[in-house]
Amino acid sequence: MASQEILREEPSRGSFINDPKVRGIFFQAVVVIVLVASVWWIVQNTIDNLTRLNIASGFGFLRGRAGFDISDSAIAYSSDSTYSRAILVGFINTLIVAGAGIVTATLIGFILGIGRLSRNWLIRKICMVYVEVFRNIPPLLVIFFWYSGVLAVLPAPRDSYNLPFGSFLNQRGFYFPRAVWGDGSWLIFVALLLGIAMAWFVARKARQRQMATGQQFPVFWTSAALIVGLPLLAYALSGFPLSFDFPQQSTFNLVGGFQVKPEFLSLYLALSFYTAAFIAEIVRAGIMGVSKGQTEAAGALGLRPGSILRLVVVPQAMRIVIPPLTSQYLNLTKNSSLAIAIGYPDLTATTGTVLNQTGQAIECVLIMMVVYLVLSLLTSAVMNVVNARMALVER
């Protein structure tokens, strides 16, 4: 370091125009001046335009009455609610569709990714065709395909397809029985939580004992028994409080049950199927990135194939998989904004409606940007924590 300091302090021999430091300062000064000037110009123009259009800037408009209906809402909402409530409804819808999509895409993606490495030629080829098809068409097209190509041409409600467990599928969406929780059902949830807590505790103890003595304990079966058994016991004890509200066919429509609208269904299916193709490639790259020596060494230690996969290959593959997986999750969340194309009221769609009604373009776009940025940062943060726990601890 010291020698560099000395070198830097030597006076430049050539003209000072050639001094990188001087050039840097000059260049940055130019950038700052240009930036400030253009920002000032833009702000001036915007102020002019806003006064001309009679739009008051600021977020006060959010308290106004929304006046439009939202077809799919997880929280209480009517057209009398405020604009901010409408945006909140959209935000929750974005969260729902992104969350559901992420889970499904991960499941399908992992199956496909492992399938592409199968020794079975047929499975390998099926997975390859899937990945190559879905990777190369726009997500918006997949959404339209589900929406106008598949779901819109389903039969009318009175000719609905009957599916197992009393569910129905028709033009208006997917209907399935809604669980009705009776008195005392809180006991089931308490039992479930208790079961999970106890399973966690058992797993911890078993691990400590294995570390100390080498003795193993059937953790999986014990946890399964605790997590499934306790709620079942509580269900029986509290007098079977759970019943189902089955959808019933009436003359024109289905009554009762829980309806999943085609907008949600097509967005959710399209996002899952589209992103799954990318996740499959990531998983494949991850597993291929674990060197063969690891598998062989594990085999030489006497581990069985299942244990090799669980204890040696997957933990190392996850290390490669997680960072790109994170960006796929982010992509899925951002792609959920395509909902606007088929009228699913997500954040972009509701905020877009608010924008059209109020003309508050800057505020609305700003809200959208900030929310998506925060969502992205949150997802990255969570995945970074997961990544840090998985990352190689080097000495």
Partner: protein, 385 residues
Amino acid sequence: MQEHDLSFVRVEMAAAQPAPPSERGLGAWIRRNLIASIGDTILTIIGIVLVAMILPQVINWAFINAQWTGTDRTFCATVAQGGIQPDGWTGACWAFVNAKFGQFMFGRYPLDERWRPILIAVLFAALLVPLLIPKVRRKGLNAMLFFGALPILAFILLVGGVFGLPHVETSLWGGLLVTLSLSFVGIAVSLPLGIVLALGRRSKMPIVKMLCVVFIETVRGIPLITVLFMASVMLPLFLPAGVTFDKFLRALIGVSLFAAAYMAEVVRGGLQAIPRGQYEGADSLGLGYWQKMGLIVLPQALKLVIPGIVNTFIGMFKDTSLVYIIGMFDLLGVVKLNFSDANWATPQTARSGLVFAAFIFWLFCFGMSRYSMFTERRLDTGHKR
């Protein structure tokens, strides 16, 4: 005693024995690849059932039952729906695609002027193909024509208004014409811009670095629709009253800026992968910053990230379909627009149109990804670790 040497040294190679029958031919291949174990056999059966369920239906729909010719919806509708097909018929309505083909390609571009986009398409192909084949020489001239002369000519021809060519509003453009011109300009703008942003992000100048980081991270954190919204509703607010931007141009700016941020991250990955010694070597040769980057670092860095660059191109090509949401009609938009044509509305119309559009998109994207794999192999100088 030497005649009685008992040791035996074989001087010629033994003829190779054929592999045992159990390892040869179709039987062995099936045994190895399809029924190696019980689990494998079950998987194979599941696979066969899957294929048997899906493939015949797809082939039936797309080819055997498909209606290839026709003039209106009756050809693609069943009797119950007021058409000529037997009840229960499902098949692709290629007649719809056939009838609307011109629209799918050019949108509402005036019929008499369609020779202009066709001419540009022919020139585009004629210049692109030699550019892509490594053996054809004069790459410099070719590239100059492709990236320099062609865009200017395309602009003059497509927009018109000079040399006696009637002016064609960009709002009349549509279909594949919009998709391709958006992605061509997007690619041509986003790559250089992305390189500049990546260099800026690794610059030693704090202000430049900060600006680049903020731009890249912001754009990457928001969906393209938000960027397009911004370009379509906020840009007019930012400009002085009376100055209006063409909608097409606004979408172009939005898409290019969006792709540039992603490109910057890809290029940065390449820059980071170049060992320090290369930078220092360039410095010790007395090269300036741009010489160092242009002659030493970037050629190596860009070569490393070709797959990433092409993936970004593919992503952008697919993303151009989003301009539909701000009211422009690219290929997907035009297809979607034509669903509502009462003359063609049948249950099969939407599916057929979308499958056609998907096929076109797929063709371009798959072609790009295969070409990138080819280039990667060709440029592989064997220095990879």
